[in-house]
């Protein structure tokens, strides 16, 4: 079957019934059969990574409420989607994230102390105190900075994928987006270009059902996000985004397809934003608490924990110990990161351009002189 036809089948099948059904549809497809679900060791690694973000996010939201950091966008409820998808990547692949994929950076080896220093925006931050929290960038782990402007990363990701094609390497680019971003101009441009150029890119949509206060059915009249792929000649797959194995299986298949030169895929991960959009939001003003409670029963971290218990791969004593270990790790890292001094004012003028133009040299001298005389 031609890819477009298979996509149509997948996307239209995925419109039916429950999320479990959707997962089954994805698992049964031909593309998936070559990719076994995560083995126990993989599940344990994912569980650790997911619990680590859960712990980190809870602590960061507390710091924000205490006024110790400026802003934070937590991934709570979406850990399986974030970790299960990033787990399918190789080190040389690139991540073009949206707001909630800081966990992908950590999973792929970025250290916790500089990560938290970025949230404080101090001298331990490799972005030099310039970028907002949850907008990190680390070239060392091939993750770029998210643009606050919704959807921008998507066309950029196609460009990065096109570059891999030109350079004839086997890098794959993963572009994350939320359900809201599917309304953006860049979404349509990116999907179309990816189809036309057969670019090695995987679009991973974390459909968490809410764009701040706007529910998905006010964002799109489509039956699903996945079905949008059909019109662009791409496969579209929808899976249960709170099942880490399903996420991994679908995304790994799409990544391998891209790596084989067969082009892009849109993967819709159906999940739920259990908390606020960001530290600036209070979802109790617009969301039915019953809906939140229903999704809490599908909490991806608890689901994976139960599954590991059922597999006899994990027990509650180990779990308690891991929770304590991760909390200690996060708290130690916060302590170390928070103790670092603010960025030096003199660094303000760096990186505006490659090489420092005369007028910025002059501005720096004036500013430092003014600070010397007036204190600022």
């Amino acid at each position: 079957m031609a890819p477009a036809n298979r996509a149509l089948q997948l996307a239209s099948s995925s419109r039916k019934k429950s999320s479990n059904k959707k997962t089954t549809v994805a698992r049964q497809s031909g593309a998936m059969s070559a990719h076994p679900l995560l083995h126990t060791q993989g599940l344990l690694e994912c569980y650790r990574a997911m619990l680590r973000i859960r712990t980190l996010d809870e602590r960061m939201m507390t710091l924000q409420r205490q006024g110790r950091i400026g802003f934070y966008g937590a991934c709570t409820g979406q850990e399986a989607a974030c970790i299960g998808s990033a787990y399918a990547l190789r080190a040389n692949d690139w991540v073009f994230p949206a707001l909630r994929e800081g966990g992908a950076m950590l999973l792929r080896g970025f250290a916790l102390v500089p990560y938290i220093a970025q949230v404080f925006g101090n001298s331990g931050d490799i972005t030099k105190g310039r970028q907002m929290p949850s907008h990190q960038a680390a070239a060392s782990v091939h993750q770029v900075s998210w643009s606050s402007v919704i959807g921008t990363q998507l066309s950029q990701a196609v460009g990065a994928a096109w570059a891999a094609k030109l350079k004839k390497d086997d890098t794959v680019v993963m572009a994350y987006l939320g359900d809201g971003a599917t309304s953006s101009n860049d979404f349509h441009v990116a999907m179309n270009f990816a189809g036309v150029f057969k670019a090695p890119v995987v679009f991973v949509c974390q459909n968490n059902h809410w764009s701040i206060s706007v529910p998905t059915d006010h964002q799109t009249a489509s039956e699903s996000i996945a079905i949008k792929a059909v019109a662009y000649g791409l496969p579209g797959v929808k899976v249960d985004g709170n099942d880490v194995s399903a996420v991994y299986a679908a995304v790994a298949a799409a990544v391998e397809r891209a790596r084989r030169g067969q082009g892009a895929t849109l993967v819709e991960l159906e999940t739920y934003r259990m908390g606020a959009h960001s530290s600036s939001d209070d979802p109790s003003r617009y969301r039915d608490p019953a809906e939140v409670e229903a999704w809490k029963k599908k909490d991806p971290v608890e689901r994976l924990r139960s599954r590991l218990f059922a597999l006899n791969a994990w027990n509650s004593a180990q779990d308690k110990a891991l929770q304590a270990e991760l909390l200690e790790e996060v708290n130690t890292a916060i302590k170390e990161a928070e103790s670092l001094p603010p960025p030096s004012i003199a660094t303000l003028f760096e990186d505006v351009y490659q090489g420092e133009p005369w007028h910025l040299k002059e501005q720096r001298a004036e500013l430092l002189e003014s600070i010397k005389r007036h204190g600022r």
Binding site: G70, S148, V149, G180, V214, L348, V352, L360
Partner: protein, 326 residues
């Protein structure tokens, strides 16, 4: 007269104009059920219903274009941009279309539309959320650009903007929403294109607009007064068309000028004002015009870097001292 926040003054203007004219509607991200990202549209969905207070899918270009189309056939849309930073995505509709339709159609079409939302720094929101972009729009013929500093001006100018038959870029100060001030009740219209002397003085004119007035200029003027220097503070309120008469009258009175602007220095509103003043009032000047602007760099998240990037009371006083040769 009531004491209202800048946010509530804008809300009152929208409420009054939507009650007065059924052709006025509000569209943007989060404006309806969430009552606006900054709560400017509080209560409007309940009062006017979902056909006139509309949550748009996330595409600034899309809902700006929808507004332009609706305006061409007789409605008076108010299009809320969550921030002017994101409105960059809508510039094709604002600059290539709204600004030009009347002219391109030989006067057959009109585009009575207000694009409004917050601009400028917002408090540790970094470079993509903190830009003062008014100069981009001031550049464009066909547009009018408004940037009120006080709650009373916010209400009076928004009402005038909604009634204007031209496309209006209405830039609110992101940090001003909570600022309180006296606002006339009911029909209060501030004409577009009129500056306002916020503090009379005779030794130096400080020209500014929007948040710079309340954050830095008022305090600098008071400190200067304590030192025996009488500064006149001129709030432009409208940046296009410029109130040249008010600017030149003040310059001819004080003979010295400092311009305070949140945005970047190159090709800025302040640069245009300086050009105007040197051409029209060269013989009245006792010193070269000085400008205090945001630094010529992108905004940072770190609090100390953010503060250092913006104008300050100290930099304004230093500029005044320079034009006074003190």
């Amino acid at each position: 007269m009531s004491e209202l926040s800048y946010r509530d003054a804008l809300n009152q203007a929208l409420n009054e104009e939507m009650s007065r004219d059924a052709n006025v509607f509000l569209m943007g991200e989060e404006v309806a059920r969430y009552n606006g990202a900054y709560k400017v549209s509080q209560g409007l969905l309940d009062k006017f219903g979902s056909a006139r207070v509309v949550d748009a899918p996330i595409s600034e270009l899309g809902f700006a274009g929808l507004g332009v189309g609706a305006a061409m056939v007789g409605l008076r849309p108010v299009i809320e941009m969550m921030t002017w930073n994101f409105a960059i995505l809508a510039m094709d509709q604002i600059v290539n279309n709204a600004a030009k339709l009347r002219h391109m159609s030989g006067g057959q079409l009109r585009c009575p539309i207000v694009f409004r939302g917050p601009g400028g720094a917002g408090g540790r929101l970094s470079s993509q959320h903190s830009q003062a972009l008014e100069a981009h729009y001031v550049h464009c013929p066909g547009l009018k650009v408004v940037a009120p500093a006080t709650p009373a001006d916010a209400k009076g100018l928004l009402k005038s903007a909604i009634r204007d038959d031209n496309p209006i870029v209405f830039i609110e100060g992101e940090l001003l929403y909570g600022v309180k001030g006296d606002v006339p009740d009911g029909e209060h219209l501030v004409p577009i294109g009129k500056a306002d002397i916020k503090r009379p003085g005779d030794q130096v004119t400080i020209i500014t607009w929007s948040r710079m007035l309340l954050w830095y200029v008022n305090e600098a003027a008071q400190k200067l007064a304590d030192q025996g220097i009488s500064a006149e503070v001129l709030d432009l309120r409208t940046l296009r068309p410029l109130d040249e008469e008010a600017i030149l009258t003040s310059v001819r009175k004080t003979n010295r000028v400092v311009i305070v602007e949140e945005g970047w220095p190159l090709a800025s509103v302040g640069a245009t004002l300086t050009d105007l003043i040197q051409r029209e009032a060269f013989d009245d000047l006792d010193a070269p015009v000085q400008r205090v602007t945001g630094l010529d760099i992108n905004m940072s998240y770190a609090a100390n870097l953010e503060a250092a990037t913006q104008p300050s009371v100290e930099r304004i006083i230093a500029a005044v001292n320079q034009v006074l040769y003190r």
